[in-house]
């Protein structure tokens, strides 16, 4: 299934998080959550193991609550397709500190590699732009990934959306915690919130 010239998902996510500073990173259900783990466990990582279609909306809720923090959602094409309406919701709210990256391998990699809608028809960059996310980019080189990684810290330029075409090869599974309450409370603690 591997095609030439497609980017390696782990390299992409490593580059996005290499100089993360105060970024809160949300990994969508599936391989994306493993990718942010592989880049290094962090108190501000939000790992999703369920709630398919919800990653971008979790990002929106966080971005609106914490407008001074860069919030980065990293998810897959299948997860984004399931929550495609949330691009319209985000396009309306226009949180300037929210960035969404789709790692697009054109397939449901966790369930046997069935092709997704982006393999033949659906253009998520077009959808995001048409929903009012003016900074919506199609990315196909590491130089573009690195340039995008810098913009994430600009709290006035969002929302922004990037669709990164990646190789569909399966990579080693590096699994984060599955304890959702721990994951949320660790982020809250790092942001200075006390337990109830």
């Amino acid at each position: 299934m591997s095609k030439a010239n497609l980017l390696d998902r782990r390299q992409v996510v490593s580059a996005l998080l290499a100089d993360r500073k105060d970024v809160v990173a949300i990994g969508g259900l599936g391989a994306s959550t493993n990718d942010i783990t592989a880049a290094g466990d962090h108190a501000r990582n939000f790992y999703l193991w369920g709630g398919m279609g919800g990653a971008a909306m979790i990002g929106l809720g966080l971005a609106l609550a914490q407008p001074k923090l860069p919030v980065l959602v990293i998810t897959g094409d299948g997860e984004m397709l399931m929550g495609m309406g949330s691009l319209a919701t985000i396009g309306l709210q226009k949180p300037s500190n929210l960035s969404i990256v789709v790692l697009d391998n054109e397939a449901y990699g966790e369930t046997g590699g069935q092709t997704s809608h982006t393999s033949a028809a659906a253009d998520l960059v077009g959808v995001a732009r048409a929903c009012g996310i003016a900074d919506s980019r199609a990315i196909s080189t590491m130089a573009e990934v690195e340039a995008f990684a810098k913009t994430i810290h600009d709290l006035s330029g969002g929302p922004r959306f990037a669709n990164v075409k990646i190789d569909s090869a399966n990579v080693e599974r590096i699994l984060p915690s599955r304890d959702g309450t721990y994951i949320v409370n660790r982020i809250r603690g790092d942001l200075g919130f006390q337990p109830i």
């Binding site: 709630g51 919800g54 979790i58 949330s86 994951i183």
Partner: protein, 181 residues
């Protein structure tokens, strides 16, 4: 077209103001919603508020995920929807026990008390069961006088005790919708 059949037509109800006041007192900041006629006054109050942010959704499940993110970032929220929307939320409701964030939803009921439209009845009939099977406690307000106490109890248990809670605002309270040519 979509007039209402009872006294709510001629006198503006004040129970939405009671709801708004309670939400304000509990420091609710994010208010995701899919519009419903029964929520229209409350939505107006939210959109006119300086402390709350009304967030229109394309589908109700977005609101469940949004509230998880809001709480992670330190804010409380409430999800406004109609009974049909509860069905749209089911899988996303699994985030609530897993992430353990305060969840309060206010659901305007259709498909009961004098309903005209048969298409509203199946989901309206299963709304309470779906919520309870999904781990959400259900309270109900059937008349304007009980709205403040029900809202107070719901908000207290949702935000203080992290007990996922839905308040069903009954069709008897909001008035059955009638269709005229």
């Amino acid at each position: 077209m979509h007039a209402r059949a009872d006294a709510a037509d001629t006198t503006t109800p004040t129970w939405p103001d009671d709801i708004f006041a309670t939400l304000q007192r509990f420091d609710v900041r994010q208010v995701p919603y899919v519009p419903d006629a029964g929520h229209s006054k409350l939505i107006q109050r939210v959109l006119g508020s300086s402390t709350m942010r009304g967030i229109p959704l394309t589908t109700e499940e977005e609101g469940v995920a949004l509230l998880a993110g809001a709480w992670t970032g330190g804010q409380r929220g409430v999800l406004l929807m109609q009974s049909s929307g509860v069905g749209n939320c089911i899988n996303m409701l699994s985030l609530i026990p897993i992430l353990r964030f305060p969840f309060l939803t206010l659901v305007t009921m259709r498909g009961e008390w004098g309903e005209f439209n048969p298409w509203q009845v199946p989901m309206g009939s299963t709304t309470q069961g779906v919520l309870e099977l999904s781990g959400v406690k259900v309270l109900r307000a059937s008349n304007a006088a009980e709205v403040p106490a029900v809202l107070e109890a719901a908000a207290a248990q949702a935000y203080n005790a992290l007990t996922p809670t839905a308040v069903l605002l009954s069709q008897r309270l909001i008035g059955a919708k009638v269709f005229t040519k």
